[in-house]
């Protein structure tokens, strides 16, 4: 388990996970609020 966590903590694996989460988040935002051209005023 410890070795597996160490593997997950290596930079290439970590950046793959991190950017997947980030791009998924951006896709989600664009799905619920499509075509933003201006910063929305709430």
């Amino acid at each position: 388990m410890n070795d597996f966590l160490k593997y997950l903590s290596t930079a290439p694996v970590l950046i793959t996970l991190w950017l997947s989460v980030t791009s998924g988040f951006i896709m989600f935002i664009n799905f619920i609020y499509p075509d933003p051209l201006t910063f929305p005023a709430f």
Binding site: S9, T10, A11, P34, T38
Partner: protein
């Protein structure tokens, strides 16, 4: 304050003030060539033609088919998009396309200034916490190992503490820790 730091301070003040003052001229600009999208006839025309195109495609399918469901959704989203753009402060060109005003004036701040500042804030956050992590790693026993195998709990604490980075950076700049002294920077022989 040493003279080298003073020079750098003056440079930064000049740099930052130039951002504000060079903006002053276009900020007063009038946009005679542009009309608010709400009043633009060509903008309205664009809405009608895009809806018509989709409706013509819609005619090709039976009402309960998957394709017609998709196309009706598409029509709805086109309508909401045009409605949102016409309800906003956006200005349209003669051809009916909305334009982003990037001159820095306040009534169009939500088009460029606010997203721009947000971008700088987020990228600054990323850079600041990255720098902080490297500083942390350089103090540990295995410097390179800590750069390749990330210490995730430490990295997360650093990331979460980074939201005050503009204040932290200013504090470090004033205390002289932000910039390396000229003696620490290697220069090729000349």
């Amino acid at each position: 304050m040493s003279s080298f730091l003073k020079k750098k301070t003056n440079f930064f003040i000049a740099l930052f003030s130039s951002f504000f003052f060079f903006n002053a001229t276009p900020a007063m600009a009038d946009f005679n060539q542009l009309t608010p999208c709400k009043e633009s006839t060509s903008f309205q025309k664009r809405l009608n033609t895009s809806i018509k195109k989709l409706e013509n495609r819609l005619k090709l399918y039976t009402p309960d088919s998957k394709e017609s469901e998709f196309l009706s959704k598409e029509i709805q989203s086109v309508k909401t998009r045009f409605e949102r753009y016409s309800n906003s402060n956006l200005l349209c060109g003669k051809e009916g396309l909305p334009r982003i005003i990037a001159s820095g004036q306040w009534d169009h701040a939500n088009e460029f200034v606010i997203p721009g500042v947000l971008f700088l804030y987020i990228t600054g956050w990323i850079g600041w916490v990255g720098r902080k992590y490297l500083q942390y790693a350089s103090l540990t026993e295995n410097v390179f190992e800590n750069e390749i195998i990330i210490n995730v709990p430490v990295a997360l604490t650093i990331m979460n503490s980074g939201f005050t980075w503009p204040i932290d950076a200013w504090k470090e700049f004033v205390s002289g820790n932000l910039l390396a002294s000229d003696d620490d920077v290697t220069v090729s022989p000349r």
